[in-house]
Amino acid sequence: MNRRPRLPAAAQALVSGDRRALARAITAVEDGDPGADAVLKALFARTGQATVVGLAGPLGVGKSSLVNALVGYLRARGRSVGIVAVDPSSPFTGGSVLGDRIRLERSADDTGVFFRSMASRGSVGGVASATRDVIRLLEAAGFSTVLVETVGSGQVDVAIHEVATTRVVVTAPHLGDEVQTLKAGLFEIADVFCVNKADLPGAEVAEKDLSELAALGTARDGWRPMVVRTSAIAPSGIEELWTAIEAHEAYRTASPDRLAAERRRLAAEIVERVRDRVAADLARSLDGEPSLAQLLDRVVERSLDPRTAAELVLAARARRR
């Protein structure tokens, strides 16, 4: 029998299907609440198997509508689906309007779906790491397929999509997006290109253009991106989209590089956590430190430069250890 250590109460509730426990744990992750750490530590062993589909692309191409169509498709096949929809926070007020949920058409009692809207809040790295942890919580709660929608602001998309197992880049006809998408760095991350709004004229041309571009590019990890055409509102092409996603999942899981890739990702996460902790500790210990204030005075009057000041701070810390 597979024996596991007893879980903390919040983690136990989440695993046994308590949706509010899941919702609260997600909030704790977003808030950087230390309470989330215990839950994530306890649940880590139950994660890592989910299919995580990232959907990225410019404003209004139909990502949320596609999410809705995919949810319908997957629910009809008995799969439960977790959704994370990330929108940017205003850098000035910190506020945001999270409107992706509008497109979701599920009966209110369908427990096979859990939809969570997330604001990007602080840094690009911060939202990517929060998204990764939220996906883990969803998986531990039994949602073995997770869809992640992000709005097309290149940097954030690319960072978040490092946590996806299959990346879908969505475009629509006549947006002049192909070039934009390339610029945003999205082209390189795509495992599947989806030309949505195929019910509008120009979709075939867009598909052809993308296919040619995809054929020109070098295959990443031996995978050449597939191109599919969908209409999220008809709907049509949804089965083809899912088939392409599954094809990539099958390729990925069979890849001999799979374990090495997983090791790379987890190594990066450990380093990132160490760095964050060290930075936070340092910031706390420097706060109100008189020697820093004195150094700062000299830097302000240009009798000391910031680099040397940083070296002096580090040397002082090392001595105090």
Binding site: R19, S90, G95, V97, L98, S117
Partner: protein
């Protein structure tokens, strides 16, 4: 894992139950709350009380704002409150906006709607009240 750290943004659900055709007013309020630093989950038009409560729980919001013009408030608002109670989430404050006669407003307040804004309410008033309700008694 509660209460939330004071510096975390307030999460608010804005929904429009009933069959109203447009949501201009609700959108204006949503933007004002965003500009005040809140994370506004905008659920859109024609939400049933069940959908509203489900969204509120999944999104783990601190407060719910309901907007209505169609006159169905006496049927729909108490339903939302009852569902929240059933889910053990009665402590999530609910405020409302729309065209609501004084007599109805009094009854809705007695039932547990914490604040009601008519067409004359200013955005400042709404934002301030939402902040106070979300942060709880201080």
């Amino acid at each position: 894992m509660s209460p939330r750290p004071a510096k975390s943004p307030i999460r608010v659900l804005i929904a429009k139950p009933g069959l109203d055709g447009h949501d201009r007013g609700a959108k204006v309020v949503a933007r004002a709350l965003r500009d005040a630093g809140m994370e506004v989950i905008y659920a859109g038009l024609r939400q049933t009380p069940e959908e509203i409560v489900r969204a509120a729980l999944e999104e783990d919001v601190d407060i719910i704002g309901l907007s209505i013009l169609s006159g169905a408030h006496m049927a729909l608002f108490p339903k939302v409150l009852a569902l929240l109670r059933r889910e053990g989430a009665a402590r999530i404050p609910v405020f409302a906006g729309g065209i609501i006669p004084d007599e109805d407003a009094r009854r809705l307040r007695r039932l547990g709607i914490r604040a009601i804004f008519g067409p004359g309410a200013t955005l400042e008033e709404i934002v301030r009240t939402a902040q106070q309700l979300a942060r709880g008694p201080s």
